[in-house]
Amino acid sequence: MSTCTLIPDWCRISEEATHSIEDYGRGVPRWCLGCGDHAILAAVQRYCRDEQLPLEKTVFVSGIGCSSRFPHYMETYGFHGIHGRPFPIAEGIKMVRPDLNVFVSTGDGDCCSIGTAHWIHAIRYNMDMTVLLHDNEIYGLTKKQASPTSPAGLKTNTTPRGSRLNPLNPLSATLGVANVSFVAQAVDWIPDLLHDIIRMASLHKGFSFIRVLQRCPAYLPTEFEAQTRNPERVLLLKHQDGLTLPPEIAQTYRNQEEHDPGDIHRAREIASASDPIPVGILYHNPAVPCYEDSVDRDRIDTAETTHAFLEQEMDKFTIWPTSSEARRA
């Protein structure tokens, strides 16, 4: 008996399902109680289960930070790299192995501070991967220093008299970069939307950038308090080409905007807003080509073809013992 009609279409559970949510988890996450990273992990694992992503064909890549511990908690392949460099590592993987599902987990320091150059260029490369920016607006792992997304005036260990700068807006910045193809914002405290956004991001072929506003109770315990309490301070973006809101969600969060993800100008305006917090798909352009597709993947290369090519290439540099042969190339 198929149960397909009973569950929303994003949830492709069927009799063939062989992996449970638990199958995707590994170990006990070492995040603080109440840390938003737990919710992100849960949403990702749920999505993996829904899609039945093969464990061995999926790679989670990260940098360094609390959030970058993510791959350790997935029973897939993982690459916990160095601070700020998850993107180039993920790009190398995807270029060589377009058959793999590639996810990137990165923090606001990892991505928007030390990793800025790679982030901006990853957008431009538009390789097919799903990116979760765990934006807790603080350096968690190193214990409370200002991050580029920290609110102005925030007192941290490196800004004891308050952060001096307005925060960088990762959405606006992303939307300014050539080849941008998918930009969304989610919040850790609305897990269903988080899940839906991850799903849409993963279905998009290209560089799918999701900024997740993530609570860090350890160092910014009150940062999103108002927004978690008051649904009015969240603005849901919906559209037939974007997010369709589950009814319960639509009822709780009345603040909604019909936004066409194809409209980059409006997307940039929305991105600039922080109160209410926009949640949903800001921008989506399925037509942007992927860098990895610029290579001919149809050819079959074997030791023999390589060998033959090498001989042919060497011919070009060869001087043969008799001068008439010199012209063979």
Binding site: H307, E313, F317, I319
Partner: protein, 576 residues
């Protein structure tokens, strides 16, 4: 054809140096002989100059009394100061004993073509064919070959210029030099070091190269960019060197073995990422085409200044393999060896070359392509249940490689201290175990290396030790001083970390050891320099530390390849 040859392009360091300026000298140094040539040699026997100014900075490269064929059009230049400059220089050079021959190059060419600037080189080729008694027919054929895609008129014009030059020599010059060509029996490749690297990468079976442009490394990537996709490879120009290195690491992790190519400043930037590959045991080949340092230094010039930075440059204990290509031929083969070691030992292999072989051309025996060169196909077999990612062998330190896509092999690699399952583990035991096994891999490799052969005397008064591009010059020098009766041998290192066995023994067979390299060392007789404060050259540090031998060093930082005659002079000085 049939000569040993070594050519070096002279490229001005500036994008647009002023015309007729000292800094603006561009050109070509050609050394040829009946036998194979291994280096650029000493002072020139003959120079051709299209203006007199370009000679000024390079007089030291000309043999005393050597012949200079000089374009004469400047003598009558409408600009009186240019004409005066020309005469003055002409007179001075003549006084210094050079044999100046004024050749009306422009005038002769103008008889044949309307724009002589584009034909002078053929005329000069003709001049040289005349002097060296080259077979003009071969030159004609080569012209036809090079311009094969051009209209016949172009070919004819060039051949006319060639013949005009030849005729001019025959009519006006006495000098003839006959260097007999040996008939080669095997096919030869004409290559520079960077092309050899590109070709070697293809031969090694690597499939990804990530780089960021930097002189003098970039041309290796240029060549690779042209051909790599035809064998399923890919060249990624990353946003910076750090990204290039990480891209290569990702590509290697995913199943290829990737290479990243750079020069000094780029290598410094990659230090952190290289440490990651060492720690996570991901195969990676890094090519550093050294240039003059420190900092931006002398981007187009020759130096071997990055050896210690390569061996020691990364924070923490990051044991990697360090090789150096000793010749243009080596550039090719070292790519194949490096890929193999990187994948066998799951570690980083750095190959050092430098500007002196990167852009110099020579002939090398055409390699016999071997299927064993290529990387094995992607392993996607299931991993046995319970298998550990780092199942370090207690003898060798080697661990398995597991590639994404392999069912049952799922794990998370990390640059943090980790246990055999690749889980983060900060306890002392796991940390020590990882460090021990990563270090042990070098011991394992060391045990498989062959002691390099000594060139020249097997024991005697002095052993010259070198590494990398200086091999040809050092061995030529040793040959010369031996001919004078000196009991000198030369040892050349291709593997620098680990160092092959038997070196200490060789060293102890000689009374003195002199390390010769192209980098900085405080001169032994410099002001204030004592054994307590002298900064040694790169390899000297390593030999002294390992073999406790009072290895002296001589090094220079002239931005030029070390000349055989210089080495001869140094050997003579130190022996007397």
């Amino acid at each position: 054809m049939g000569y040993g040859v070594w050519t070096v392009e002279i490229i001005p360091a500036e994008i647009q140096p002023p015309a007729r300026s000292v800094a603006g000298a561009s050109g070509n140094r050609i050394r040829f002989a009946s036998n194979p040539v291994t280096n650029g040699g000493d002072a020139a026997d003959l120079a051709v100059a299209l203006n007199e100014q370009v000679l000024l900075e390079r007089l030291g490269e000309l043999k005393p009394g050597c012949m200079i064929l000089l374009e004469d059009k400047w003598r009558t230049d409408p600009n009186p100061s240019i004409a005066a400059q020309y005469r003055k220089t002409y007179d001075e050079l003549t006084e210094s004993g050079f044999r100046l021959v004024e050749v009306p190059m422009e005038a002769e060419c103008r008889k044949l073509v309307s724009d002589p600037r584009r034909g002078k080189n053929m005329f000069v080729l003709g001049l040289l064919c005349g002097i060296y008694a080259f077979d003009l027919q071969v030159a004609r054929e080569q012209i036809a070959f090079i311009f094969a895609t051009k209209p016949q008129a172009v070919i004819d014009a060039n051949i006319n210029l060639l013949e005009a030059g030849y005729a001019w020599t025959r009519a006006n010059l006495e000098m003839r030099v006959n260097i007999p060509a040996t008939k080669p029996t095997l096919p030869q490749l004409v290559l520079n070091g960077n092309s050899a690297i590109g070709l070697g990468i293809v031969a090694s079976g690597m499939k990804a190269c990530a780089m960021y442009p930097i002189t003098p490394a970039t041309s290796a990537s240029h060549y690779l960019s042209e051909i790599f996709e035809q064998v399923g490879g890919f060249v990624h120009q990353a946003e910076d060197e750090i990204a290039a290195c990480c891209f290569a690491i990702g590509a290697s992790y995913a199943g290829g073995c990737a290479v990243t190519i750079t020069s000094g400043p780029g290598y410094s930037l990659k230090q952190e990422a290289i440490g990651l590959a060492v720690m996570a045991e991901i195969p990676l080949v890094v090519v550093n085409v050294q240039r003059g340092g420190p900092s931006t230094g002398q981007p187009t010039k020759v130096e071997q200044g990055d050896l210690l930075a390569t061996v020691f440059g990364c924070h923490g204990d990051a044991p990697k393999v360090v090789m150096a290509a000793a010749s243009i031929e080596d550039c090719f083969y070292s790519m194949i060896t490096a890929r193999k070691i990187a994948e066998t030992f799951n570690t980083v292999v750095v190959v050092l070359t430098d500007a002196s072989i990167a852009s110099a051309q020579t002939t090398i025996p055409r390699p016999q392509s071997d299927p064993a060169w290529h990387a094995p196909p992607l392993d996607q077999n299931p991993v046995a249940p319970g298998a550990l990612r780092y199942d370090w062998d207690s003898e060798t330190g080697l661990a398995r490689r597991v590639i994404p896509g392999q069912p049952g092999g799922m794990h998370c690699v990390t640059g943090l201290a980790h246990d055999r399952r690749s889980r983060v583990a900060y306890d002392p035991r796991n940390n020590e175990e990882g460090l021990r096994n990563r270090s042990r891999k070098l011991i394992t490799l060391q045990q498989t290396l062959r002691t390099p052969a000594v060139f020249g005397e097997e024991s005697g008064d002095m052993l010259i030790v070198g590494w990398g591009s200086t091999k040809g010059a050092i061995e030529e020098a040793v040959r010369r001083v031996r001919a004078e009766g000196a009991r000198v041998g030369a040892l050349h290192l291709r593997f620098i970390q680990p160092m092959p066995p038997g070196i200490g023994e060789i060293i102890r067979r000689f009374k003195r050891v002199l390390v010769v390299e192209n980098n900085w060392s405080d001169p032994v007789d410099g002001a204030g320099v004592t054994e307590d404060n002298r900064r040694f050259s790169n390899l000297a540090w390593l030999l002294r530390a390992r073999y406790l031998v009072d290895a002296d060093c001589w090094s220079e930082v002239m931005g030029q390849p070390i000349k055989p005659s210089t080495v001869v002079r140094i050997i003579r000085e130190r022996l007397s």
